[in-house]
């Protein structure tokens, strides 16, 4: 059987990749995808721990995370479309009317 730590390490790596991509990538869609990656890393953690504790609540949590992520995606994509309509670009560096 695969020990629990493998799952945890994997999800930590996935989460870190997500964080890194969030900070490095310039395309808004990619940035958005990296957030999804982070959320899925969290889901993996939840499932792994749910298995470890033999407790279903972790898995229930995952369902909620998925639902909420879907809602977030809907709103996020809508905003991205609004951005594209006003700017004709999805490059983060060019969405800089207000200096960060």
């Amino acid at each position: 059987m695969v020990p629990i730590s493998y799952y945890l390490v994997l999800s930590a790596i996935l989460f870190s990749i997500g964080v890194g991509a969030f900070l490095i990538k310039r395309n808004i869609i990619t940035v958005f995808m990296s957030i999804e990656l982070m959320l899925n890393a969290v889901n993996l953690t939840f499932v792994a721990f749910a298995h470890q504790w033999r407790h279903v609540s972790g898995q229930i949590f995952v369902f909620f995370v998925m639902v909420v992520a879907a809602a977030e995606a809907a709103v996020g994509l809508a905003i991205i479309i609004a951005i594209f309509r006003t700017r004709n670009t999805l490059n983060v560096d060019q969405v800089d009317l207000m200096k960060l």
Binding site: F32, V42, T45, H55, E72, V75, A82
Partner: protein, 489 residues
């Protein structure tokens, strides 16, 4: 009435209000005014407000499998959020163009956002905290994007959305690790499990992640970068809302998590919060000094105020919790108030943006100028306003717990803050009057007057006779106190 339902009655009322508005909106004529829907939302919010107060008569307890709890603490924040939402609705009714498309949705979104924030404050299960957080966040993302034709609107929204979701991921990862460490996500149970035996490293890391997540939401430094941009681009009434209500809810959650779930880990989180408080105060106030844009300046001011509030967190006492709760109320009263003035003067589309655009406002409209001056005075923290008493309480609590340096840094910061508030104040009262811009300001309408009366009265009461609110804040803090005292042992 069903006891379970009674515990989420305000949320239920607001949800129904929002749903009815969403359903009614398409039934209205295409070009007819949507403002009656806004008034309906006001009614719903009032009902929710009274329902929250009524909840005080319920015995303390949990419902829905121990996920929500009504107690003096949750009611305190419910009433606060309902009050903020009420004022925001009135301000929006004043400044929004009622016949524009999908304005009804705007009112519904405010209601839904309020549901999320209220759920956050009464949640005692991290799952529900997460859901409440997301309900409120998603609603605010959309509201931030409401001026979607303007260039700044969507930019502001995307920044808010991306960084908000980023923070949510951290928050979730924190929950996952804590679940791994303790096997539960119920806040009180986590506290019980962590009192026995050693503290697992996972829990500490998880707590740090939660701090990062909430730190983003309340725009505490070093997680504040998004705030000025988002505030600058979002419609002013929305900024008034999102700089107060979601933050108050997030602070309430953070207080509950820190004091109930992790009282024993305070030697881990107290220094972190100390640094966050100091950084927020310094970054906020120093950043605000060089801002020309009023909303950006107020954004930095809100970062600084998050710092003052966090200062109360470090007190590790009932006084600290009460001071933080009290400060949330005072900050909400004055900040919603000043954004009411900004919304009316600048309109939904931000006609007045720079400090110098406000030159002579007091001569053009004594009412608006006077109200703005009053709220600025409160933000500076002059006695007879809530801003003074809030700061007084926060720093008294911090000093009482031996946080001498934090108090000194905080008070010096609030001295620095005078400078930029005074710049705006001086502009408002200076001549010559900037007539071409100021002549566009419409006459104050009834909803605006109501909102101003509400916020001015609240600020004055909090400053002159704060006894009642103080008692409520303390009663709320008392519900967290058992955990605090175990921590101090």
């Amino acid at each position: 009435m069903n006891m379970q339902l009674a515990r989420i009655l305000p949320e239920v009322i607001l949800t129904i209000t929002g749903v009815i508005i969403m359903l009614a909106e398409p039934l209205l004529q295409k070009n007819s005014s949507r403002k009656p829907l806004g008034w309906f939302a006001v009614l719903g919010t009032l009902a929710a407000l009274f329902a929250s107060m009524w909840q005080l008569h319920l015995p303390d307890g949990t419902a829905y499998f121990g996920t929500v709890q009504t107690d003096a603490y949750s009611v305190f924040f419910h009433v606060l959020i309902a009050g903020i939402v009420l004022a925001t609705l009135l301000v929006s009714l004043d400044s929004i163009d009622g016949s524009a498309e999908s304005v009804g949705e705007f009112f519904a979104l405010i209601c839904f956002g309020a549901v999320g924030m209220m759920l956050m404050t009464s949640a005692v299960e991290l799952l529900l905290v997460f859901i409440g957080l997301e309900i409120s966040s998603i609603s605010t993302y959309i509201m931030a994007c409401f001026r979607r034709k303007s260039a700044k609107g969507p930019e502001s929204a995307i920044k808010y959305f991306l960084l908000g979701s980023f923070a949510t991921a951290f928050f979730l990862y924190g929950i996952a690790l804590i679940f791994g460490a303790t096997g539960t996500t119920a806040i009180a149970a986590i506290g019980r499990i962590l009192t026995v035996g050693q503290t697992p490293l996972l829990a500490v890391v998880g707590l740090a992640m939660i701090l990062i997540g909430i730190g983003f939401k309340v725009s505490a430094a070093p997680f504040q970068v998004w705030t000025p941009d988002v505030y600058e681009g979002a419609p002013s009434p929305v900024v008034g809302l999102m700089s107060t209500a979601p933050k108050a809810a997030a602070f309430a959650v953070l207080l509950r998590i820190l004091y109930v779930a992790f009282p024993l880990l305070h030697y881990h989180w107290q220094p972190l919060v100390w640094w966050m408080a100091v950084l927020s105060m310094c970054v906020g106030n120093l950043g605000a000094l060089r801002q020309q844009n009023v909303k950006r300046m107020l954004a930095y001011s809100s970062i600084a105020n998050a710092g003052y509030l966090l200062a109360a967190f470090t007190a590790l006492s009932q006084e600290g919790v009460a001071a933080a709760s009290f400060y949330a109320v005072t900050y909400a009263a004055m900040n919603v108030g000043i954004f009411a003035v900004v919304s009316h003067a600048g309109g939904f589309g931000d006609r007045l943006t720079l400090v110098q655009d406000y030159r002579g406002l007091a001569y053009r409209s004594p009412l608006l100028g006077g109200a703005m001056a009053f709220f600025l005075i409160s933000l500076i923290g002059i006695p007879f306003t809530g801003g003074f008493f809030g700061k007084f309480y926060v720093f008294a609590a911090a000093l009482h717990s031996g946080m001498v340096w934090l108090t000194i840094i905080g008070l010096i910061n609030s001295g620095i803050a005078c400078y930029y508030y005074l710049r705006l104040l001086a502009a408002v009262y200076s001549k010559p009057v900037h007539t071409d811009l100021l002549d566009g300001i419409p006459r104050p309408t009834m909803p605006l007057l109501l909102a101003l009366v509400l916020t001015v009265a609240a600020t004055l009461i909090l400053g002159i006779v704060p006894g009642q609110v103080l008692s409520l804040a303390r009663a709320g803090a008392n519900t967290l106190v058992p955990y605090v005292t175990t921590a101090m042992k």
